[in-house]
């Protein structure tokens, strides 16, 4: 049970939302978009790793293929 993953995703999401707002207020629209993109990519990377672990586990448990 890896609850840290949830905390990490939530934390990164909040951080990215705040950074996006601040950068937009500062008039740096492009950097705000870049920060958002980077955050999504990082979180996607973590989620994909978790999904891959889950698939390995499912494959071992149910003897799939």
């Amino acid at each position: 049970m890896n609850i840290n993953l949830i905390f990490q995703i939530g934390g990164i999401g909040l951080l990215v939302a705040i950074l996006h707002t601040v950068l937009k207020q500062a008039g740096k629209q492009e950097q705000a978009e870049l920060v958002t993109l980077a955050g999504v990519v990082v979180v996607l990377w973590m989620v994909i790793q978790a999904i891959s672990q889950l698939f390995q586990l499912v494959r071992a448990t149910f003897q799939l293929y």
Partner: protein, 129 residues
């Protein structure tokens, strides 16, 4: 992994998801996927012991173990399909969820063909020639 822990984790994920959905909807989707993965991974050990129980029962009943194997595979495919379809539906892609479910049904049908054939052959043997 008790039901209380799962409930607590789901509540936590729900709060974070509601917090994120307004500002960053894509993050909320990723969060819900991560939550599903975490809960499912936590449940897999219990599912594994249940499957061991089923396999033991099949062995004691002296049934063909091949059929028990495809039974576990079918259960696994059903769980995975459900997970994938729910993730798609959560992100608002009902169309994609339907396709995932269709794929799961087809895979299960393909795996069930040997069992159906065995039943049919048994029936044919029972019938007078």
């Amino acid at each position: 992994m008790t039901i209380l822990q799962i409930f607590a984790v789901a509540l936590l994920g729900l709060l974070l998801s509601v917090l994120l959905r307004r500002e960053r909807p894509e993050m909320a989707v990723l969060l819900s996927i991560g939550l599903g993965v975490v809960v499912l991974a936590a449940l897999l050990r219990q599912i594994g012991s249940l499957l061991d129980l089923i396999t033991g029962l099949v062995a004691r009943a002296q049934l063909d173990l091949r059929y028990a194997g495809s039974l576990t595979r079918i259960i696994g495919i059903a769980y995975l399909t459900e997970f994938g379809a729910q993730v798609c539906r959560d992100a608002g892609e009902g169309n994609l969820a339907g396709k995932v479910e269709l794929a799961g049904k087809i895979s299960i049908l393909v795996l069930a063909v040997p069992i159906v054939l065995a039943v049919l052959e048994t029936l044919l043997r029972l019938l007078p020639a």
